[in-house]
């Protein structure tokens, strides 16, 4: 167990380093973006005079390293600052959106992970059968359409017929049940997008193991095909499966801006695009760090789970 704690500690440190690098990359990139916050806020009607006044007011006239340093020292003290555009604390701005994003990600995961594992296991069990080929072809088809397109088609069939709402309107008063109902279409869209990948990896990971001597041994012990796959193959295929699930969960958190736009879902992706468009650098940084942290943490969790489920790593000689 101490090994695991050591690994977690080491990975967390590395994760912090990653976050630091990302904050530099993002800051550098936003610096390179043409235009600045003042320009974006005033839009077409900006004049040099008003721009200068607004820049002064927003503190955009400091040199870039100074602004980065100020931001960094703030973050190190746990203060992500205020949105320069709205003067609201970033924690407040991002908090609700983060909750929404996590809700949608978990919702989609709750649909897609069991589904893809089930399909993957069945495809491996009945490999080369009609079921296997059909599910594979369907999975491929579902990932080969752009996300927004999948979303529109779902809206056409499921929202225009009045079964589900075509957009998500979440307020503080929305009940959990309503949320589940309203967010069904975006969750389903995401499910269609990520299921294929997870299913194919699950199938491949299991089939990869079916040539192992211990699988043959299990069959020679008279175990049924289902038991062979579930009891003997799956536990050993967990590491790659966990990894691909983690990767897709990270995607569900960080990569869903298009689905957010289509379903008017107030998540972090849309907020980040807004912030990039408006050069609201503090917000961009905060969200980039949240995304990166989600990615790092999910990968870490995946590695820890892979370790825990692997007796060779858990129980040393």
């Amino acid at each position: 167990m101490t090994d695991i704690w050591r690994m977690i500690a080491r990975r967390l440190l590395l994760g912090l380093l990653t976050l630091f690098v990302i904050s530099l990359v993002i800051f550098g990139a936003t610096e390179l973006l043409p235009g600045d916050l003042a320009r974006e806020l005033l839009g077409q009607s900006a004049t040099e005079e008003t721009l200068a006044a607004l820049r002064e007011q927003l503190g955009l006239n400091d040199p870039a390293p100074v602004r980065y340093w100020n931001w960094l020292t703030g973050v190190l003290q746990g203060d992500f600052g205020v949105s320069m555009a709205t003067q609201k604390p970033i924690s407040e701005l991002v908090g609700a959106r983060l909750g929404n994003t996590l809700f949608l990600a978990l919702y989609a995961a709750a649909l897609s992970v069991p589904l893809s594992l089930l399909l993957g296991v069945l495809a491996a069990l009945w490999r080369n059968s009609i079921f296997d080929r059909a599910s594979n072809a369907m999975a491929l088809t579902s990932i080969s359409f752009p996300e927004f397109f999948v979303a529109y088609i779902l809206v056409l069939f499921l929202a225009q017929t009045g079964i589900f709402p075509s957009m998500v309107r979440i307020t503080a008063a929305t009940t959990f049940g309503d949320r589940i109902y309203m967010a069904f279409l975006p969750a389903l869209t995401l499910t269609l997008v990520v299921t294929a990948h997870m299913m194919r990896m699950t199938r491949a990971a299991i089939i990869n193991l079916l040539a192992s001597p211990y699988i043959e041994m299990a069959r020679l012990k008279g175990m049924s095909p289902l038991r062979v796959v579930l009891r003997h193959a799956v536990p050993n295929a967990l590491a790659p499966i966990i990894n691909v699930v983690a990767l897709n969960l990270a995607y569900l958190i960080t990569g869903v801006v298009v689905v957010e736009v289509v379903f008017v879902y107030p998540g972090l992706g849309q907020l980040m695009v807004d912030a990039v468009t408006n050069r609201d650098i503090a917000v961009v940084q905060a969200i980039a760090l949240i995304f990166a942290a989600a990615y790092v943490l999910l990968n870490l969790i995946a590695d820890v789970l892979s370790t825990i489920t692997n007796p060779r790593l858990m129980h040393r000689r």
Partner: protein, 520 residues
């Protein structure tokens, strides 16, 4: 000014007659009946889905710049004056205004109006609200409006504004959406307040997502603000907006994708409202830079594309051809008798030859940030120009940063104007030499001279002549291609009632759908 209400299946004439007959008979309107002529009914939750709005939107009026915040404001606040649906200037918080010389303007402020907070609105609040846009520290987009203002002071129930030069149209400027009257303390307004004197009180607001407002029970206008509640949503994706309207999740959407208009109409769940006004799409050319410094080149380009095709394909017919004229048919001094420019490759070639050229190669930078369909419009122009020996290379640039990197930086690009209620404002803003937003960098001595003269000319006929000459100059010597006036196209659920006349001043009935419209 025209007002086209295009109900599905029923001709406009038939509709008007039918509604009038019902009204005359004094019958109770059956549910779902057209209600254009009916009395506005109170009640209902009006849900608006707009293709604007960002998480960085703020309450600061100096920073308002798009339809969401503009309409959100129209629900919450009032202005000194209002542009009525017919384009005339009518009182709002100022009961009247007057000036003897066009330099000193007195606005008589209405009494007995209260803010949502319960505070009474006073002339001091008006002064503070105006001063928010003045001075070196001001970050307001309309600061230039106030540059000629030398003084603003309270005189009893009046507010006196003094200018440094006569301006006959100054009261019109006070209708600008940036300049609401907000509560003040110690001579300053709080730019981040949600308070106002308007018809609705903010219940919740999440920038870039949605706002919920409830009717102000103490609203001083008795015949306005009919809905119980207004919910404004940001729905950036055009298809999502259409879906929301078709599934009954919103009652009004803006920016209907021209391609979908006929399809939407055939669904029968909503009707299209298309309002023609002064808004226009433009392609400014940098008059200082070769080859655009030669008026023959500019004329060649003006004859080298098909304006009607742009109206048909980019606006799906919801607009009209413009003769490179920024002054629209809704303006008072619109010059309708100018020689019309049509697609004429021979004429374009002729002008090229005049400029000493056989062929011409130019790059047109466009992004849909300039206006919806700008890139397609550029492509269509490029296609047609080829016949005149003109190669227009369309450079699609990112939406992001368009106004910063392209507009007024690239010699030939796309842009738009919302139209201005008065000619002077339009010309001063975008065509006067040295004006901050003179996007074509055009500098015409005669035009500049006329502009100053017309501003203080009080004789209407003379003024009309001056403005006509100026339009002629812009059209045939100017450096801006203005192919079309674009209608404001919106779609509403069938049960939304609208006045017969819908303002062409700005989109969504001059932003005032929130207080002028009702549920039938």
């Amino acid at each position: 000014m025209t007002n086209l209400i295009l109900p599905r299946g029923i001709s406009r004439r038939g509709l008007l007659q039918g509604a009038a007959a019902i009204g005359a008979a004094g019958l109770i309107l059956p549910a779902g009946a057209r209600s254009a002529m009916a009395q506005a009914k109170k009640g209902g939750v009006f849900r608006i889905g707009l293709g604007h709005g960002s998480s960085t939107d703020s309450y600061d009026p100096g920073l308002w710049e798009q339809l969401y915040v503009q309409t959100f404001a129209a629900a919450r606040v009032n202005y000194l004056v209002e542009i009525a649906a017919d384009g005339t200037l009518v009182p709002e918080l100022a009961e009247s205004w007057s000036s003897a010389d066009g330099i000193t303007w007195a606005f008589a402020i209405r009494q007995g109006v209260t803010f949502h907070s319960g505070k009474t609105m006073t002339p001091d609040d008006v002064v503070a609200s105006l001063n928010h846009h003045r001075g070196d520290a001001s970050t307001s987009a309309v600061k230039p409006f106030f540059d000629p203002v030398t003084d603003i002071k309270v005189d009893g129930q009046n507010v006196i504004v003094t200018l440094n030069a006569p301006n006959a149209d100054f009261p019109y400027l006070m209708s600008d959406y940036h300049i609401p009257v907000l509560p003040s303390a110690d001579g300053k307004i709080d730019p981040n307040t949600s308070d106002g004197t308007g018809g609705y009180i903010v219940e919740s607001y999440e920038p870039g997502v949605q706002a919920t407002m409830n009717r102000n029970p103490n609203y001083w206008k008795a015949d306005r603000a009919h809905f119980d509640q207004i919910i404004m949503l940001t729905i950036l994706d055009p298809a999502a907006r259409l879906n929301a309207l078709m599934t009954g999740e919103v009652d009004l959407i803006d920016q209907v994708d021209p391609a979908s208009i006929s399809l939407l109409e055939s669904r029968g769940v909503s009707r299209i409202i298309s309002v023609s006004g002064n808004a226009h799409y433009v392609f400014p050319m940098d008059a200082r830079a070769a080859p655009f410094n030669d008026n023959n080149v500019r004329l060649a380009l003006k004859y080298a594309f098909d304006r009607q095709e742009l109206v048909d394909k980019i606006l799906a017919g919801h607009g009209s051809v413009s003769n490179d004229n920024p002054i629209g048919p809704a303006n008072r001094y619109f010059h309708a008798e100018m020689e019309a420019k049509t697609y004429d490759p021979d004429k374009a070639k002729f002008h090229l030859k005049e400029a000493g050229l056989d062929t011409l190669e130019v790059t047109l930078s466009a992004a849909n940030a300039a206006f919806s369909g700008a890139v397609d419009a550029a492509v269509l122009m490029s296609e047609k120009a080829a016949a005149a020996g003109i190669t227009i290379t369309v450079d699609r640039v990112p939406d992001d940063g368009y106004w910063d990197n392209v507009w007024m930086k690239k010699p030939f690009c796309a842009s738009y104007w919302g139209g201005r209620p008065v000619e002077d404002q339009m010309f001063t803003t975008a065509y006067a030499a040295g004006a901050a937003w003179n996007e074509s960098f055009w500098d015409n001595a005669r035009f500049n001279e006329l502009l100053v003269a017309a501003r203080s000319e009080l004789d209407d006929t003379k003024r009309r002549e001056m403005y006509h000459e100026m339009q002629q100059l812009v059209s045939f010597e100017g450096s801006t291609i203005i192919p079309m006036y674009n209608n404001y196209v919106m779609a509403v659920a069938n049960n939304v009632g609208t006045p017969e006349k819908i303002s062409a001043n700005w989109n969504l009935d001059g932003f005032r759908c929130v207080e002028r419209w009702w549920f039938a």
